[in-house]
């Protein structure tokens, strides 16, 4: 009996569970930095990532930020922008863009400005793209977390937010659909878990900002 048990248990080995194969992010003892995912050699261009269309990737024409989107603005794009904005920007900039996000409220020494101040309202679209791609001041960049198309979607949504705070229909370029009422934030667009702590977003801080 015991013998059979031993024979049977001898089969319980981990050989097939851990094979010489790396799953994404697995540790490797071969390389000195222990990463099995190798950083590409500098200057590598992956297939499909050749940046021919540099405006799409930099938001700049020459050295100046451009003021248009590299593709048409559609309702889907704005919806995508809102979703991505709520995931990546709202923690600090808040869902209405006044700069009083949940994280900032926990004591950021340097607060983000409201998007509704005159300077940022006048800023060209490419400028926002550049801030996301390269960071600004104490804000780190989001280039690795957000793909270029999504960055533009966020930019379009930020402009929609700005317009919704002080909009006259003349401000809206022809053919561009921008929500005329301030967007409804009660509904959880991104499906993210609602924060347990109640924070009251100051909806009308645009008016309080010195111009």
């Amino acid at each position: 009996m015991l013998f059979t048990a031993f024979v049977a248990l001898a089969g319980c080995r981990q050989d097939m569970h851990d094979q010489p194969r790396f799953k994404p992010f697995a540790r490797s003892d071969f390389y000195t930095d222990l990463r099995s995912a190798r950083p590409p050699v500098e200057g590598t261009v992956a297939r499909g990532q050749l940046r021919e269309d540099s405006y799409l990737y930099t938001g700049k024409l020459g050295n100046d930020p451009g003021d248009y989107l590299p593709f048409p603005v559609t309702e889907e794009l704005l919806a995508r922008g809102q979703q991505r904005y709520d995931i990546y920007c709202a923690p600090c900039h808040s869902r209405v863009g006044d700069g009083n996000g949940v994280i900032v409220a926990r004591g950021f020494p340097r607060k983000p400005p409201s998007y509704h101040i005159e300077r940022l309202r006048q800023a060209p679209l490419g400028y926002f793209f550049d801030v996301i791609t390269n960071g600004y001041g104490s804000m780190t960049d989001y280039a690795t977390q957000i793909a270029p198309r999504d960055r533009w979607a966020i930019v379009a949504y930020i402009r929609a937010l700005q317009l919704s705070q002080a909009a006259t229909s003349a401000d809206v370029p022809a053919g561009q659909k921008v929500p005329s009422d301030p967007p409804q934030f009660e509904e959880l667009g991104s499906g993210a878990t609602p924060p347990v702590v109640e924070t009251k977003p100051a909806r009308h801080s645009a008016q309080e900002e010195p111009k």
């Binding site: 009996m1 994404p24 930095d33 926990r106 977390q145 993210a192 878990t193």
Partner: protein, 231 residues
Amino acid sequence: MQIFHRSTNTLSRATIYGAIFVVAALFWAAAEIQRSPYVTYAGVRRPQPVPFSHQHHVAGLGIDCRYCHTSVETSSFAGIPPTKTCMNCHAQIWTNAALLEPVRESYKSGKSLVWTRVNDLPDFAYFNHSIHINKGVGCNTCHGPVDRMPLMYNQASLQMEWCLECHRAPEKHLRPRDQVFNMRYEEPSESKPVEVDGKPYTDQVSLGTDLVKKYKLRTVTDITSCSTCHR
């Protein structure tokens, strides 16, 4: 000549008969051990270089899963965030906390933090996040109430029978796609119907059955065939 006493006849009969039970009991014990947390690690919290709390960051601060697990919608793996992602916030907040020393150290030196893997399938099984996310399987269906985990643990055994339990009847588990990241999603009920395309549903099976059609799921035979997961 009689070496054995008569009573051994009964005794040996009893032993042979009883052996069946003993063997059965052993098999049962083996199966139970195989499914127990001792083997599967389900529910076991493991040491991490930094006591990162999902409860704090997800429920407390309302950060979406995708802020950190950026590739979950588009690739097979969800991805563990690089140190830089922590520094987006922690360069400005809790900058002196001793708890976060390993994070700052890692950021300065460029060496990755080495997190202990919590969910780990054997290398011969293939898993893919994006398809599950895009067909309406919520993170917490598989990972449990992540937003209430001060330290990460896995809720499920991740054994084959667990995968198959769902692949055989996906309609019992599907939810609308936009609710996948919502850790507080509740299955439809009489008091709290779930609305999809303007139609309110009050029970999981009718919602699930419609979602199976809407998201164009393949047949059960397809997704339970061995080569789906062993390739």
